[in-house]
């Protein structure tokens, strides 16, 4: 033990250990005791804090926490037993905990986290609740941090989490990773939740905010976890990972020194992470076994085209437009149609892009719809229409970074911003 080692405590140690411990405790106690597991984890972390602040950090902090959590779980089980409150399902738990290895077993940990991931993404929960629960349980994020990430109030998140735990408890959710056709369905839900989690961090008003980047990192970590178990190590998982890597590779160039958003067109491509791009390409290769391309395959393909282009002008827009054609056929949605329209404008000319916007009309209330229309009209040589839509867009967003961007564009079309 030493105080010097305090500075060497792994970054986010408490946060990461909270997630691992919760997963292990769920394994010991079952999903019905989700909230008890949460309290025991918190209790363990408080004990660590009170001991370590005076005594220094032990050489193996993770092992220390594991042992304390094990002891606290046993204490709780025995207390419940004495009070005669122990249910049938907990009778075996005491033995299970008492006989558990005295330290982390890597395979057991991976397995527990994986099972917990499937619990958190259970179809009985709404997608928003799934994402929040993943962050709280596996990511070790606080209610306040999750609220900040979702740009909502802590109260909303508290309620969402509480309802989720109630649902898990009453629905009799199992900790088993499903098999067969059920696995396909449940894995799709897990992948979708991770996709939302990543997008929440990526498509952000404040991309430089550390908490937002944590969301991307957590989505990436959990997706990697899926590749460690043969049943979930499948082409769609790798396609999603490829998408995460290829998108994350461009994060360093998305903000300038002042924290302002930088659009793809103006990004300094030398700042893109080549190792992440290479990794994305490897995952995409492993995703190729799929019977059919999923939306993740197509989006990763689009991201790859951007990463491959030496400049914005030299981008293979035709390839991107074709990928968007497939994506729109697979998932007809206004959001996809909107992004496709940009690719159409670049590949086939702005007039065709403006026509393609007809398929995105459901989004007329959104700032993005008008921002894209503004750009397309500008490309089409119609500054008056461009001004009109950029002004509309400006009125529809409250984000400072986006407003700044729109004002710069308005100045570009000769509007006294």
């Amino acid at each position: 033990m030493s105080f010097a080692s305090a500075e060497h405590v792994v970054e986010h140690l408490f946060r990461h250990e909270a997630g691992r411990l919760h997963a292990l405790l769920l394994r010991w106690l079952g999903v019905a005791h989700f909230a008890v597991a949460e309290d025991l984890v918190q209790d363990t972390l408080v004990e660590a804090l009170t001991a370590w602040r005076l005594h220094g950090v032990p050489d193996n902090p993770a092992g220390w926490l594991y042992r304390v959590a094990q002891r606290k779980t046993l204490d709780w089980l025995r207390r419940e037993q004495r009070r005669g409150r122990i249910g049938q399902e907990l009778r075996a738990a005491e033995q299970r905990v008492a006989e558990a290895a005295p330290h982390y077993l890597p395979e057991e940990l991976t397995d527990s986290e994986l099972r917990t991931l499937f619990v958190c993404c259970h179809p009985a929960l709404s997608p928003a609740a799934q994402v929040a629960l993943c962050l709280k349980t596996l990511g070790g994020l606080s209610v306040a941090e999750i609220a900040a990430a979702f740009l909502t109030s802590p109260d909303t998140i508290t309620k969402r989490l509480f309802r989720s735990k109630e649902t898990l408890r009453t629905a009799g959710v199992s900790l088993e990773v499903p098999t067969g056709a059920e696995l396909t369905r449940r894995l799709a839900a897990v992948l979708h939740a991770l996709y939302l989690l990543f997008s929440e961090g990526y498509d952000s008003e404040q991309p430089a905010a550390p908490i937002r980047q944590e969301l991307c990192a957590e989505a990436l970590r959990l997706a990697l976890l899926l590749t460690r178990q043969p049943r979930t190590d499948c082409p769609d998982t790798h396609a999603l990972l490829a998408l995460f890597c290829l998108q994350a590779a461009r994060l360093p160039a998305r903000t300038d020194a002042q924290g302002q958003l930088v659009l793809l067109e103006q990004q300094d491509r030398r700042r893109w992470s080549q190792p992440l791009i290479a990794r994305g390409v490897r995952h995409l290769a492993r995703a190729a076994d799929a019977p059919a391309a999923s939306a993740y395959h197509l989006q990763a393909g689009i991201a790859l085209e951007h990463c491959r282009a030496p400049t914005y002008a030299a981008t293979d827009w035709l390839a991107i437009r074709r990928l968007y054609d497939h994506l729109l056929a697979l998932h007809p949605s206004s959001v996809v149609a909107l992004h496709r329209a940009v690719a159409v404008a670049r590949a086939d000319g702005p007039a065709r892009g403006l026509q393609a916007m007809a398929q995105a009309q459901a989004l007329t209330g959104s700032y993005l719809y008008h921002a894209v229309l503004g750009d397309l009209h500008q490309l089409n040589g119609d500054p008056a229409a461009a001004r009109h839509h950029l002004t509309e867009a400006l009125q529809r967003t409250t984000g400072a970074a986006r407003q700044q961007l729109l004002r710069r564009k308005l100045e570009g079309v000769g509007f006294p911003g």
């Binding site: 946060r15 408080v46 370590w52 950090v57 994020l141 941090e145």
Partner: protein, 117 residues
Amino acid sequence: MDKFMLLYHNAAVTEEAYWDLSPEAMQAELAKWNTWIGGLAAQGRLVSAEALQPRGKVLRRRGELGTDGPFTEGKEVVGGFLLLQAADLDEAIRLAQGCPAFDNNGAVEVRPLVKFD
């Protein structure tokens, strides 16, 4: 150099406040304490520091059990102690003033040790 003992009195509310901290905030709190004590060690002032568990028994007359533990005695518990060496009480107090316990409304008692030589 004389020796001094610093006794931390945690208000019960501090323990409760810890309960509400997020994992990240806990780590930040830990870093504050370790930085302070690490600083004392670097100046050659630290002799030892120990944390006390929030349980145990209080014995009264003839060793009979008085109470169930420190919590029932009052609002404050001794959460730990630290032994340091300083030139005099003034310096010991100065060193104690950097203690992060004050951020959570905790109290620190500074007591000179009796010298026998």
